[in-house]
Each structure stands twice: as C-alpha cells, then as structure tokens.
Amino acid sequence: MEQFQPAKGAMMEYEVNVNGQTFRVKFTERDGQLFVTSPRGTFPVKAETPLRSKVQRVQLNGGAATFGYHRDKERTVLILDGTHYEVQVREEEHVRFTQLARRPGAQGKLDVKAPMPGQVVSVLVKPGDSVKKNQTLLFLHAMKLENDIRSPRDGVVLEVPIKQGDALEKGALMVRLGPTPEGR
C-alpha cells in the first residue's frame, strides 16, 4: 500500500457527478489525518486497501465501507451493496497546489496550455528557439494579473500558434516544446 502523505495543509476539491446529481467533495489534511468534506459534513477517512484492488475498504468516520471499484478509459464504477454507480470526477480549477508534475506528450513533445482564459500580452519565443527550464515563454493577462508562463523544462520551441492580443480559452495550446537535439 502506498504511503500517501498529503502535503501539510494540502487541499483538493472535486466536483463529482453521479446519476445526474452533482456533489462537491473536498479533501483536507490535519495532523497527519485525511478528512473528506461532502454535503453531509466533514469526516476522517482512511483507505485500507491498495489502490489497484478491485474491492476497496475504507474507514470513513469510524465505520468501514467496502465497495467494488472499476475504472477504465470509458468510465468509473463504484459498486455499493451490489448496486452500480457510475461516477465522473473532475478537479476544481481554482485550487492551488504545490509539487505538481506534468506528463510529457508523445515523442518527447510537451504542450504548454493556457491554465485559464486570458489574453496574450506578449510572446517572447519563436519556433526554433532553445529554451531553459523556468525561462519565461510569454505573458498572459488573466484574473487581473500579468502571468509569466514559464517553460517546464529545457527544450526547443516547435510551434507557437498564438500572437499578441489573442484571447485564449482555458486549455488552448500556447507553445509546443520538443526535446533538445541531444535528447532529453
């Protein structure tokens, strides 16, 4: 079983859809104990089975809950007392958290996407440029701030499909990076 230790004070909030109903579920950590908050209230929670197990056991507010769990590309299903519940879990965007990693794209490509809707203030790189990790690629005006968007790693700029003044949706591709010619 993985020893997951949520970072001190770390929080994560989700929006979960189950059979057309939406629930907000939040996780917080206090004194090494994980708490979950849902419409019902806030309760201590502790997982007792490995993440990969199809039958899960969880201590929730002092009582044990056992359920079946199946997750694949198409759907996530929880089985409670034999009844199947299909759930869709989505992270809430406005929550900040530290220590995130980004998965590299296929073939060592890495897409830098707009984290929220905003307007391109200025673009500092063009295709062919070599960049270093944390180097500022562009400035995006969003949420009343000028945000410097930095490179997640060393690399080469492959594409910059944006220009000054563009209004971007969340998730829009801003810069596509490739590996440096010597490899990653």
Partner: protein
Amino acid sequence: MFKKILIANRAEIAHRVIRACRKLGVTSVAVYSDADAHLPYISAADESCYLGPSPASESYLNMARLIDLARRHGADGIHPGYGFLAENAAFARLCESSGIKFIGPPSAAIERLGDKRAAKEVATRANVPVVPWFPCAPGDGDAAAAKAAQIGYPVIVKPAAGGGGKGMHRAANETELRAALPRAGREAKASFGDDALLVEKFLVNPRHIEVQILADEHGSVLHLFERECSLQRRQQKLLEETPSVALAPAQRERICGDAVRIAQTAGYVNAGTCEFLLDTKSGTHYFCEVNTRLQVEHPVTEMVTGIDLVEQQLRVASGEVLSLKQSDIRQNGAAIEVRINSEDPFADFMPSLGYIEAFQVPEGQGVRVDAGYAAGDSVTPYYDSLLAKLIVHGKDRAEVVQRQVAALKQFMVVGVATTIPTHLAIMHDAGFLKGDFHIHYVESRTKEWLKLDREEDAAVLGALMEYRRLLKTREAQSRAGEMHFDPWSSSSLPRVR
C-alpha cells in the same frame, strides 16, 4: 458404491456433485465446453475432459459424446445435475443400454411424470387434489365452455405437451376462452409440435410449495419436508426457503404425505421434487407437477435436515437401502437461498456478460455459498445466468434474514451486474418479512426495489480514489525527478469523462 462417475453438467452443480464424490471416495470426471474451460469446478474434479464447442447442443446436450466420454474414462455412473439432460428419458435410456448407471429415477418414471396429463392422473390415483382441469382440442369451443363453467373462471389454457410457461393463456369468461383456444393451439403446435391443450382452473395468487422426495430401489420412500419458492420472476425462482411460513403443522403433514403417495404410486426412485400450488384462500393445495431430478434449491433442505442429498443420490443409485427413517428427519431452524444471477436488476434483469474482476464470497455462521465462478472467469451467453447460490441457515427465520443481509453486503462481485441489490431489497421488504407473498408478488414489487440512494457515498468514495491516484502520481513523478513548479497548471489527471 460407484468407483467413478462422470458429471454431465457444469459450474456450481458440477462442483456440488464433485464435493459429494470426494466425500464418498468416488472418482469424479468433469466435462467442459470451450466457454467453460477455466471454471473452478474442472480443477476440483479428479479427472476432466473436453466435451465440445460452447453451444449446449454441441456439448452438455450431446448425449452420444457424453456416453462416449463416460465409457473412455471407465465411469460406472453419470450424474446429470439439473437442467440439460437431467429429465431427458432418452438419455436415461441410453445410459441404461450402455451399461452406465444414470443417477436418478428410471427412464420410465421420467417419461410418466414428464407428461403433464399422465402426472395428473398419477396424482388423482394417489388421491391427491389436482387443480380442476380437463383436456381439450383447439376446436372444442362448446365442450370447453361447458366444462369451464363447471370448474369456474378464471381458467388458464395450456399446451398439454409443453412447459416453460409457453403458450399459456388466461381466460376470465367464456368469450375469452373461446378466443384463447385456437390461439393456444397454434402456439402449442409451433413450440411443441402438438396442439393438444388442457384447461385448468386459474388460482389467484397461489403460493408455490414443493416437497423433497427421496426413494430407494427397495421400496422405501421418504420426504424431507417442503420448500417455499413463491418469489419468482417470469417463472424463474429468485429465492427459496424452508420451512414455509404459510403452512400450519397439520397442513405440512398432509402435503408431505401427498408427495410421498404420489412418488409411491409412480414407482419413483432417487431424489425428486413434488410441486404444489397452495390456494391460501381455501387452504387447499393442488398437485402441479413432479421434477424428476435434483433441484437448484436443494441446499435449503440440506441445511435444515442435515442430510446430504447428493450423497443419498449416489447411495440409492448404487443399490443401497436408505439408512434414513422418516422419523429421523427433522426440520431444524430455517434456511433461505438466494440465487446470485449475473443479471442487471436496473435494466429489467438483462443478462450481464463479461469478465469477473473480483468475486469475494461471504463467510460466517450458517453461511454456505455454492459458486460456479471465481475472479478471472468470464460470464458467457451460452448458459443460464446463475453465478452462485447464497444459502443461509439460522435458528429461526428472523435470524436467517439478519444473516442474509450481512452476507449479501459482504458478497463482492466486480465486472458484471448481479441480483444482489434485489435480494437486499427483498430482505427489507415488509411483505416478505411478514411472510405475506405469492407467485405474482415479485412482479408487483420490482419497481419499488430499484432503489438508488447512495449517490453521495459513491461521490465521496469515487473522489477519494481519484485523490489517491493523484497523490500516487505526484509521488512517482517526484521520485523520477520530473518536478516542476507551476502554480497555474492543472494536474496530469482527471479529465471529465
């Protein structure tokens, strides 16, 4: 006692027979089709052999192949289980002529009792009430109307040669009867090749009570009390229990006595079940039919009587005199069996096929599970949908219900839908708990039983799993050194699906 028997069946009942063989030191031979090649019963047997392609007609119904395999393996007996060839007189005859003992009644008894009209005649000769009836041809409108007036409406028209609920038509009055006859005749001809009909009095909301019979080859006929199987959906039993709460002791004695007399009159041998319909209004029970085989629900009888029915079948078939006496047989406590089928109660009980990712069966005091599948097996479309039987025993019905609830909550199946939610609903159903139900009760309650009330739990637990995955990914990537401080990025995880 047999040296070696071949079990001409599959899944849970094959495993059940294999267990009895082990107990008695009999070598067991299992057979399997393509679809069943990895089911647990195969490795439980001493020997096993490939039977044929998945369709039943090419495997479990292939009489010649089964006899051939039995011969090659040197089996001196064949146990047919239930379903498939268990009530096939031709197969029983084929075994007899091949010098292999068919573990069941003689083929003549199967034939006699398999025909509905002949079976009713046996019951009448045994002085057992039969639902008032008369035979009739589709064109006999006038004669039928006259006789129906005598027995009283409503009546039901049935094919004389068929079963399985096909070609049955209810008639509330003469007009409906005259309309039903030609229709039923056409359907009977199409399904069974014979348009002979019979018309029976239609009992309103009867209860299904059956009696377990055991007879040896030396004239001894015993009963092992009754089972109530009124909870059915489309003529298929969902749940069976013993004792029946609908029977007072005197009535129990009468029904069981009637079953014994019918078995004696028919010259029955080995295990069988006599089915009755109980008309609660009048308190009269009527003979319905005899099942000349071991039934799916035999475990509830085993739990309360302490008798191993399959063992007794093997003993009787090997010519032993039954060592049991009627006075030794008692009902101790109560038992309920629920059938865990791979059907989706939320999709009108549509069969649920697929790969079983997890299959954890309950344990506990008085809990018995007869399972045909395990984790890693696949449910295929070729056979029935029975995954396992969950049988619970207790000192009284209330204790059994309590234990069933706990057991059902422990029973974890991931990969296919099951009838577990339906059984949990039944265990909380007021009518069921009071013992107030009949053979049409389930149909009237299934909508009520479709309860979805744990959405918030599902949300909380689903979110927890995603959060755990997030933390695990972070941890893995931090270990891999691919750390990157970026307060504005959304994580590499959940997209909306």
